[in-house]
Structures are given as C-alpha cells and as structure tokens.
C-alpha cells in the first residue's frame, strides 16, 4: 500500500526523523510506539506532507508522495487525524464532518451524505450535537469529531495520532473496534500512533518502536507485546521518577 524508504524529516536544522524505512500493506494495521519526543507526530506529519521530508521517498501505488503538498496527498487517499484534534472551532459539528470529505464531495455528494450517517452511527454523541459549534465541545467530544472527520475522507491509508487521547475507557474500546471494522470491511490501511500501547498493539498486525527518530525494533504486534524491553520501557512496572 505505502512504503517509506529512508525518510528523513527536519524541524529547522534539527534532524528529527532519521532515514526511516517501513511499509504498510493493504488492509494492515501498523502501530508506532515511542517515548515523548521520539518523533512519532513528526513522522506522520512528514508522510502527510505537513513537514516537507528532507530526504527519502514515500511510495504509494507506484506514485511518489515525498515532495507533494498536503492537499495532493489527501487526494491520493492518505488522511491524517492529527494531534490536538484541530477542529474548525467556528463551524458546526456537521460542517466539520462534511469538510472531512472535501476532496470528494463535489463528485460524490450522495455517498458523502451516506458516510455522514455512518459516522453518526459510530458516534451517536455527535449526531446529538450536529449543529453545535465544534469549538464548544468537550475535549473528548472533539476527539470523536476529529476521528469522524478523518473517516469522512474515506482514505486508503488512515493515519491516527493518538486517537484515544482524552477519551473515556468505553469509547477507547469503541474506537479500536471501529478501526478493526474499517480494516475488515473496506480494507483500509491504518497507521496508528498510540500511548495506549496495549490497546494499540492488540488490534495491530505489526508494529515498530521509534526512538530519537530511528526505528529500533519492529515485528509482529503480538511478539512486540511480549517483548521484554518494550514491557520495561512502556508497559512494565514503573521505575521511580528520580531513577
């Protein structure tokens, strides 16, 4: 589906992502795990075209995405649900959702409206607050809206940056189910960044660990869950803050 080869991304003069290579197959869920500041968001931003990659290539269905604008990348079928939600705060919930399907709305209006109903079905809460301004929702409601908006794009590759952030436990499970369903029904590929590593790996096919901009470990999700160093660093008992 998408294969990333020797990708580097900088912030100013700082190398944040250092020559990373990996791929996500069609209908595959891949998780990225890493500490704060490891560069996870920067990596997703690099693929989405928000940060222009300094080097390397991003191939999708034989097309090079690496130097394309975010808009072109969206049109190619890659959508990012970004960190911090990034809601259009002065627009209503419904307008926010519809704009999620902007790049295809004029062509397939009917389909878009159907998809809107699907999103409402996933998140009944949003349906109940259709005409409220997005910016006035609670944090978790906004997170649902952001995810819903991402779904409205109907991407081939959906990238989610910490989708469970700020969501109640019940909803987190709900989201994970939705992602699995999405993969099963539409064969959407999913690239997932999560702090809730257990939840993420448990629905993923594969995963890799990012550290200071490089991949230090990768493999089947199940084996990663068992991996001792991962357990120590991200899941295990907590060493005290003072070390």
């Amino acid at each position: 589906m998408i294969s990333v080869h020797n990708l580097s991304v900088n912030h100013g003069h700082l190398k944040i992502i250092k020559e990373i290579s990996f791929s996500v197959g069609k209908g595959e869920i891949v998780s990225i795990v890493g500490a704060n500041g490891a560069g996870k968001s920067t990596l997703l931003g690099g693929i989405a075209g928000i940060y222009s990659p300094a080097a390397g290539s991003i191939q999708m269905e034989d097309e090079e995405l690496a130097k394309k604008s975010p808009v072109d990348i969206v049109r190619k079928g890659v959508t990012l649900v970004p960190e911090r939600r990034q809601i259009f705060d002065g627009l209503t919930v419904e307008d926010n959702l519809i704009l999620g399907s902007y790049h295809r709305y004029s062509k397939e209006k009917k389909q878009c409206l159907q998809d809107l109903e699907m999103v409402y079905a996933y998140f009944p809460k949003l349906a109940a607050m259709k005409s409220r301004l997005g910016g006035l929702l609670s944090g978790g409601e906004q997170q649902m809206l952001a995810i819903g908006r991402g779904l409205m794009a109907k991407p081939k590759l959906l990238m989610l940056d910490e989708p469970s952030l700020g969501l109640a436990p019940l909803i987190v499970r709900e989201i994970m189910n939705i992602l699995v369903q999405l993969r099963n029904i539409t064969s959407t590929s999913i690239l997932l960044v999560e702090q809730n590593i257990k939840a993420a790996l448990s629905i993923s096919d594969r995963g890799f660990v990012l550290e200071r901009g490089s991949i230090v470990l990768e493999g089947e999700a199940k084996s990663l869950l068992q991996n001792q160093s991962i357990k120590d660093a991200y899941l295990g008992a907590s060493p005290s803050l003072q070390e």
Partner: protein, 255 residues
C-alpha cells in the same frame, strides 16, 4: 479538614445543561478525582472553580470562604492553580520562563524595581530561577530548559504545564487529564510524583480517563454523567458501582 466545598453547582450554556446541581467536597492533603464520560461536565466544573466563567447556580467555597464569581487571577491568588485540557502554554517563551512565570504570585518585584534592577529584584530573580530549575530536574525536563515551549512534543508540553501549575505551592491544584499524551511508564512516573507531593501536603483534584492511574492515586472519586453526579466514594467503591460501570467504565475496568 474541608479545603474546597462545592454546593449545588450548575452551569447552563444557552440550553445545554453542562453541569447540574453537583455537590462534593475536597479534603486537605488528599488527591480527589473527577471522572465521567466525555462531555459529562468535568472541565466545566474546573472552569467554574477557577473563575473562567461564573456558575449559573450554586457556590464554591475555599476554606469556607466563598470564591464563586471571582476572576481567574483572583482565584489563583486564593490558592488554586490549574492545567488545561487543551494545552495553554506560553509557546514562544522558553520552558524555564514558562515555569518561572508560574511563580508570579510568590514574587512581587514591580515595574520600578525591575526596570532599575534594584538588588531586591536581582535576588528574587535568582531565587525563582533556582526553584524553577529544581522543578525542571524533578520532571526530567532540564535538558529542554532553554527551548521555546512550543517546540516540545505534546507529552512534554503537558509536563511543563503541570510544573507551571505546581511550582507556586497553591492550596489546590486542578489537573485536567494530566496523563493524556503520556505513555504508561511516563504516566506511572507522574503518578508517583503526585503521590510524593501529596505526602508533602499538597492537595489535588484531577480529571483523568486513565483508570489505572486514577484508582492508584485517588483517595476519593466523584463521578459525573450528563452533568449530574452519579456516584462518589473510594476507588474500590467506584469500581464496584454498577451505575458507574454502565455509564463509564464498561465491564472490563482496564484494557
């Protein structure tokens, strides 16, 4: 002793009943948690306590003194600081400046003293610098001290915000989802820190969706749903409470 008393608190946003008739108290030196589904009204309660907007109804008392209807900076002066669910850092200031700003209330140099750099101003500056640096080390942020706060990763920005809120030793600290954006290990470290500070006598009220952490650190939990308080009690009581399980936790407590 009761530090904060909330009585019959309600908030109505032009038809949206965000909080309805909520009553609870916070004990001095405890960690309390406010939990509930998304949109239950937790952040709204925080906003009313800190004076972002006045309650539609009800009273808030700190040490038996009424503080509802005060302005946010007055509330801070009364001794309540907070963090924000949607981060509100001073993005262009360095990390250490962010934290030094947090000591605003503990210091008093005015325009005159500062402008002419009188000795008292210099002394004070050194004092808050030292104290801020200590906190940065405590939170493992000392390496980032001189970076503009806006360029930090999400998780670290959260820590900076927490440091900014705790450094002035307020009577009560409100943390809105402090663990969001931290991974399990980092959350555990932060939880340890909270417990440590509790030992030092600090009182907290936190909103958090990470139930492992809440159950570990909280002495007392209040549960909201649709703006209404549906339960209150110790972590054990809450975990057993059927209403809470149905509305919020689900049958498995942790994932």
């Amino acid at each position: 002793m009761n530090l904060l008393e909330i009585k019959n608190l309600s908030k109505d946003f032009g038809g949206v009943q965000a909080v309805q008739d909520v009553t609870f108290t916070i004990q001095e030196g405890s960690i309390s948690a406010l939990i509930g589904p998304n949109g239950a009204g937790k952040t709204t309660v925080f906003n009313m306590i800190t004076g972002v907007f006045p309650p539609s109804n009800g009273t808030i008392m700190l040490h038996s003194k009424k503080i509802s209807n005060k302005k946010p900076h007055q509330i801070a002066k009364e001794g309540i600081t907070r963090t924000f669910q949607n981060l509100q850092l001073f993005a262009d200031m360095t990390v250490i400046e962010n934290i030094m700003a947090g000591m605003h209330l503990l210091t008093k140099t005015g325009v005159w003293n500062a402008g002419f750099r009188l000795p008292s101003a210099k002394r004070e500056e050194q004092y808050i610098y030292d104290k801020s640096m200590q906190w940065l080390m405590r939170l493992n942020l000392d390496q980032e001290a001189y970076l503009p706060a806006g360029t930090l990763s999400y998780g670290k920005q959260r820590l900076v915000e927490i440091a900014r809120a705790v450094i002035s030793h307020p009577k009560l600290i409100l943390l809105d989802e402090p663990m969001a954006g931290l991974n399990h290990n980092e959350s555990e470290k932060l939880a340890d820190l909270l417990l440590e500070m509790k030992k030092e006598g600090q009182t907290f009220l936190l909103v958090e969706h990470d139930m492992d952490i809440v159950m570990r650190v909280a002495d007392h939990i209040v549960v909201l749903d649709h703006g209404v308080k549906i339960a209150e009690g110790t972590p054990d009581e809450i975990q057993q409470n059927d209403t809470v399980i149905a509305a919020y936790l689900g049958s498995e407590v942790t994932i």
